[in-house]
Symmetry: D2
Subunit: 287 residues, 4 copies
């Protein structure tokens, strides 16, 4: 029976790994804070002491980590990914990182004999739990084929976008649009509130028209009642905007709206909202 690994059991990784286990797969897990493994072990996962052990024990290892620094650290650690990799093993990094980081991981994993797939996802906590993520894969197409059944457990839709870096770029672009849409949404709600319109009416009108989308429908009522429990932490949204701005600079693409949105999210971080849900950026338009 094929063996799978999962590294990184945070808000996203834990339910993704849980879905693999629930589907009957053999999964070995590891997390920097070891306690986060407990619920998954209770579900039937194998516990490993290091990332190296996970990779060594698995045909394909999935990773879902917080940021480029964590991705690099887990690869290079003396007990990390590279130490466990060997010919033919697959490493599927589902973290959201910049393309430079992704290309570097691809290079070092490939040099060590492994195969690499970047597969960042679109979707936050709830889709991770429901197995309805959108998966943006790029890199080794053979590995993509082998991982497909597992990606289909974690997500409802998957794309293969070509060479390593394209998945990262697609993710950033989608999240950049998300940041811009959220900022526009907040400004509209804030302007309506000052102008004597009911939030519920605004949400109903938006829901009825050409702008209707699951994010407005899902976040709007939470924002209206002031529930900012983190599904996608604000600091991660701003990190993605930062990376998108850097990509724009690099490709010489002018992005004035995204720049304005990015500044709003930076201001929200300065206001102490980094660990709330990204829709908490609403507060800076109403303070």
């Amino acid at each position: 029976m094929a063996q799978y690994g999962f590294l990184g059991l945070g808000i996203m990784g834990a339910p993704m790994a849980a879905n693999l286990i629930r589907a009957g797969h053999e999964v070995t897990v590891w997390n920097r804070t070891a306690g986060k493994c407990d619920p998954l072990v209770a579900m039937g996962a194998n516990r490993a002491a290091t990332a190296r052990e996970v990779v060594a024990a698995s045909d394909i290892t999935f990773a879902m980590l917080a940021d480029p620094a964590a991705v690099e650290a887990i690869v290079l650690d003396p007990n990390g990914v590279l130490e466990g990799i060997s010919a033919g093993k697959g490493y599927v990094d589902m973290s959201t990182v910049d393309e430079t980081t992704s290309r570097w991981v691809s290079e070092v994993v490939t040099e060590a004999g492994g195969r690499f797939l970047e597969a960042p996802v679109s979707g936050t906590k709830m889709p991770a739990e429901d197995g309805t993520l959108i998966i943006l894969a790029a890199g080794d197409e053979g590995l993509y084929g082998e991982a497909a059944p597992l990606l289909d457990i974690m997500g409802k839709k998957r794309f293969f976008l070509g060479e390593v870096g394209n998945g990262a770029r697609m993710k950033l672009i989608v999240n950049m649009i998300m940041g811009g849409m959220m900022t526009s949404f907040c400004e509209g709600l804030a302007l309506g509130a000052k102008g004597g319109l009911e939030s519920a009416d605004i949400l109903d009108v938006l829901a009825a028209g050409a702008l209707a989308n699951p994010m407005f429908a899902g976040k709007g009522p939470l924002m209206a009642k002031g529930d900012f429990t983190p599904a996608f932490p604000l600091k991660h949204m701003q990190k993605d905007l930062r990376l998108a701005m850097a990509l724009g600079d690099n490709l010489v693409q002018y992005l004035p709206s995204a720049a304005a949105a990015n500044e709003a999210f930076i201001r929200a971080r300065a206001a102490g909202l980094a660990d709330e849900d990204f829709c908490a950026v609403y507060k800076i338009f109403t303070d």
Copy 2:
């Protein structure tokens, strides 16, 4: 049998009036450029020589005009609305105007003995043709009740939002969000294009996720193939952004994303795109 009037037979007004006629109502029409009446007369409408005649002949008159100046002109014209109004007649202005204009029309119509409803719509050419507009009514609630069956022919959803001005505000807020979303969408597509991603892939990824919305789905493929045939002319989008910015200034609401979007649309006007569809703002991100 109740008599209805319709003033303004442009991109929006013509199909809206046509839907009323098709539903079997008696409708008298007028347009500044008289030739635009011909197709409606061919469908069974009565032709009037002036706006005054339309109002005089109708129980309820609907108007769909280009901007505040046109709305004011048609009301004050020696052969205009005020000359035809009398006790009990209803005037339903469906144009998108600022709230000051709307309140002024309400006042003068009411002083002349008429009843007033503002009823701006959300939706452009296609929904006007399909009778699937979103109607944002405010003002005389009795008139709203009487006009409801006709509003239900022109639209798929209607809201009564209270006092005159609230419909205008809601419309501006929705269109302000629309302008911001379109700008974010354009920036994402432009960044993707520079970064080697296929537009079709970006549209598919967006369609699969939490940002999916009818506007992206409808405009995206047109933008990708360079079809900017006007459904909602760019200059009208920018006009709405201008009015929304003025509302923000007036209510002391900070709107940095909308400001950035507004500047993008102004730049698009300077680039000669005023009469193309508002999604032609895409061109300024790719020139």
Copy 3:
């Protein structure tokens, strides 16, 4: 001996009128809040009960009012400017208003037989006191010549810019640049403060280089010590930005930096800083 009038004795108008009196001119004054006339009367001014009386008693009347609404009100008031104007009298409006207002005043004053000069100023409280304003005149060139000796008492430099409206435009453009420079200055100081640099060092470095200017030199030390006593109230700065944005929209000129600055000043108004000096916008970058 020539008779002069002065309408509007606020932060700017009072010292400007005082300079005319000190220079030995006969000046009749009026202010909406009559008590503001007292110090000038003590200096030798004549007191009038209405604006009409001032204009009727004077060869040339100067006005320095808060905004377009005040400018219109004083002209149209039953005891206002138009009631006092007659053939040959000069009316010099030094208020900062939009060009539409200025053109309207020009028209009604001219129709009443008077001559009109718009003469907005660049410079705030201190230059008004020191007689070192920059005066941006446009309109009746003959009146400009007659008023020149008095303009030279109130200002250190004057320009004649052609037809009515050009003075207003020039003023808005200068103030728009001022708003943008102030915002950039605040962002630099705030970034420096977060980055461990001394404000005094930043001010010294700026003072030594190509960016050195009287505004940074004058406002910088006040901002560093938190003194925001109004010389040019923040709400007036934002009003000028609003008018400049409207001019840009009207002339189809794209102004993204000014838009960002305008939003910063709107946010400052929302934060309760409307009546502090305009450099108090600094607070929104450091809160």
Copy 4:
């Protein structure tokens, strides 16, 4: 007699080195494109084949390079700075780089036994030629004292700002303000031009008031006549804005005006203006 070195003979470095030579100092020079050494050798400089030779031959070596990549390359090159450094030698890097790069150079030079001073400058081609740069030094205070007489030849004013990184930060902050001021200036000139005002009048009005500064006075007439010969290339201005934005993100400082200015400069790069003077950003406001 003390021996000095100079690495990097571009627009800035060449005149700076020339000033040292003209003042009678013994200077050994090197440049990646060797031909750039010729004019300085003709003035009396010694020519070295590598950066290593320059450092080995000099008590204090000055460097003026294009960007962080060039700064790193020259240090690490097998024939580079580190190979020539030894106990007590001074290395003064006058390039504009981010603080991370500067701290890294400090570390490796210090580890190799050398002493390090960062000393970025404010001022472009003309001040470099005239010896009127503003020098923003930080790092080894002893080296600062020894280098002072040479800094005083290259500059008219110098600051010692404490620990390594503070010079870089100060430089970025000054240049960020410069980018913002230039953008505001361009918007004002463009708005004036569309509004029928003469550029010369706008420049005169600015020169007379509180915003008067050497940059407007120097660049304004060049911009008005369309002379964009590079003194400070536009791509370098945008690089500094990019670095300033990154510093803001890192320090969680909200910088909306600088973000708008940065986007304007990115758009200017996309328009093919990278190698013109930074004031060529004017063209994107008038196209």
